[in-house]
């Protein structure tokens, strides 16, 4: 077979992937002057101003909290799924996947209905004589939105690794005298690490870069790094600054992929993400 079939793709790729990335780099590393533009690091210097560092810190913190919660909720769920508590595993797996096929915005929007001051949760709480819960437009609501949207990303890779673990290995550990706690910490957990690592990657990255969840559930009060980029391009019109934040974000993502793939060994999560 000939390689000429690559031709349309190579042109497409050059035009719509490579050139745009080069343009982002160009805008990030230059500032406009009267004579055109000159190379400069000014855009990056701006990013290190305290307000923007605070935005970066908040984004990292919220993404980290959401990832930890997803891991704590998701690992046991994946274990139950991989175990023998259910007979029809395919159906259970499907139940995790179905909500993901619902439009992302609608899933986020659904929480507005629940969390509103006169929303479903508050009406229920008041009817039970409990104090109301006002977390809409707070950081907690943003974290909740992230956990809700990204939990399946954590569960599915862990499940797929756990379900491939040879049952014989677990039985062997038991036969050799390990109690179930030691079987878990010494056998199951180490073997499932590749799944955990890709789960963490798949939750942390979209959580770090989202601007929709923070806008809808945070009410626009909690600027995250994604919101900052959006504002620079669609409101302020400062492409240079917006591009430099994007470059910082790409570097962060590449760094975490490098760290993760180092832990992961040969098994690659790339195809999944």
């Amino acid at each position: 077979m000939k390689r000429t079939t690559l031709f349309p793709y190579v042109i497409w790729m050059a035009l719509f992937i490579v050139v745009p990335m080069l343009l982002v780099l160009y805008y990030a590393f230059s500032i406009p002057t009267e004579a055109g533009a000159t190379w400069s690091l000014e855009n990056f210097a701006r990013f290190f101003e305290p307000i923007y560092i605070r935005v970066l810190g908040r984004s990292l913190r919220l993404a980290l909290i959401s990832t930890v919660i997803c891991l704590l909720l998701g690992y046991p769920a994946a274990m139950v799924m991989a175990g023998n508590a259910f007979n029809r595993k395919n159906v259970i797996l499907l139940l995790f996947v179905v909500p993901m096929w619902m439009n992302f915005l609608l899933r986020t929007y659904a929480w507005l209905t629940l969390l509103e001051r006169n929303g479903v949760i508050n009406v229920l709480l008041t009817n039970l004589g409990l104090p109301g819960l006002n977390i809409l437009y707070t950081e907690s609501a943003v974290v909740l939105g992230m956990v809700y949207n990204f939990l399946p990303f954590m569960v599915l890779p862990i499940y797929s690794v756990l379900s491939k673990i040879d049952k014989g290995v677990i039985e062997a550990a038991g036969d050799l005298g390990a109690n179930s706690f030691r079987v878990f910490t010494k056998v199951v957990l180490p073997l499932s690490l590749p799944g955990v690592v890709s789960g963490i990657t798949m939750v942390f990255m979209p959580a770090l870069t989202t601007f929709v969840i923070s806008r809808l559930l945070g009410g626009g009060q909690f600027t995250l790094i994604g919101n900052l980029i959006e504002q620079q391009f669609l409101v302020v019109g400062d492409w240079g600054f917006g591009s430099s934040i994007s470059v910082v974000m790409i570097v962060l993502i590449l760094l975490s992929i490098a760290i993760m793939s180092f832990f992961e060994g040969e098994e690659k999560s790339v195809a999944l993400w």
Binding site: M1, M102, F211, I253
Partner: protein
């Protein structure tokens, strides 16, 4: 007892996942704008939904762009996959790495880079730019769906076709393409769903007047709660659910037919690929 606890835990997780969707659907039949109150059953919001010009025209744009971008991406992506499969060494490495770029990059970065390109090249933002952007982010998923099928292919098939006197084009069209068809179809369906589901990239590459369903939902949701969105959600969720059931029943039937045990993984991986979308 342990089994019971395990099951209950999973049921709780499912409750967490499904409760918001269920509430959304129930309230689409609520005859009262206020959320906490149940004002009786109504289909009013569904009627208003279908009379809403903005929503209907964005539904049309969404489907149009979804279909065209999926078809174009499938053609370019399938040809690209065949080419990648046959290239070696450094060339293959470079192309694969660039292919992964839009998959790994945060969506918002892909979005702004395309927006810069279009504005820079003075292309008016609208249908055309939306379409170009959607094709661009769809192609890698088609390639990643087709490549595994090519790897399973017996490499002597192509040579046999040539020996039997077919031209290279005939061999490709009559031998290779039919063999990798399942991968192509998966890729196209994936591309279509990703296109329909996309918000971030559309949001940055569209111009005034052209809006996809996701963009319309976003601008409505930003202004607060709107029962028409609930009605829309109910319809979309039901549709997706039916689609998934049909696909799964078909898949299960095929697996029963083939029964060589190699298919179990396929389902998870094609679902998995969708998760780039969020």
């Amino acid at each position: 007892m342990v089994r019971f606890l395990k099951r209950s835990y999973l049921y709780l997780v499912f409750a967490f996942l499904y409760m918001p969707i269920a509430v959304l659907m129930v309230y689409s039949f609520n005859d009262s704008r206020s959320r906490g109150v149940w004002g009786g059953f109504t289909l009013r919001w569904y009627v208003e939904l279908f009379q809403d010009r903005t929503i209907m025209s964005s539904l049309y744009s969404t489907l149009l762009i979804g279909v065209i971008s999926a078809i174009v991406a499938t053609i370019i992506g399938t040809l690209a996959a065949i080419g990648i499969h046959n290239s070696r060494g450094i060339q293959k490495k470079i192309i694969m790495n660039i292919t992964y770029l839009p998959v790994l990059n945060p969506e918002i970065v892909t979005a702004i880079s395309l927006m810069i390109l279009f504005v820079f090249a003075r292309v008016r933002l609208g249908y055309l730019t939306l379409l170009l952007a959607h094709i661009t982010f769809n192609i890698p998923y088609v390639i990643l769906s087709v490549l595994p099928k090519l790897r399973q292919l017996n490499k002597h098939l192509y040579e046999a076709a040539l020996d039997l006197g077919s031209t290279p084009a005939q061999a490709l069209w009559k031998v290779i393409i039919p063999e990798i068809m399942p991968g192509i179809v998966t890729g196209m369906l994936l591309a279509f769903t990703l296109s329909i589901d996309d918000f971030v990239i559309s949001f940055f590459t569209t111009g005034s007047g052209v809006s996809t369903l996701s963009i319309t939902i976003y601008s409505m949701a930003r202004r607060g709660i709107n029962p028409k969105i609930n009605a829309l959600s109910t319809i979309m969720f039901t549709f997706v659910l039916l689609l998934l059931i049909v696909v799964n029943v078909r898949q299960a039937r095929e697996e029963k037919k083939e029964r060589n045990g190699k298919h179990g993984k396929k389902q998870v991986s094609s679902f998995g690929a969708k998760f780039g979308g969020a």
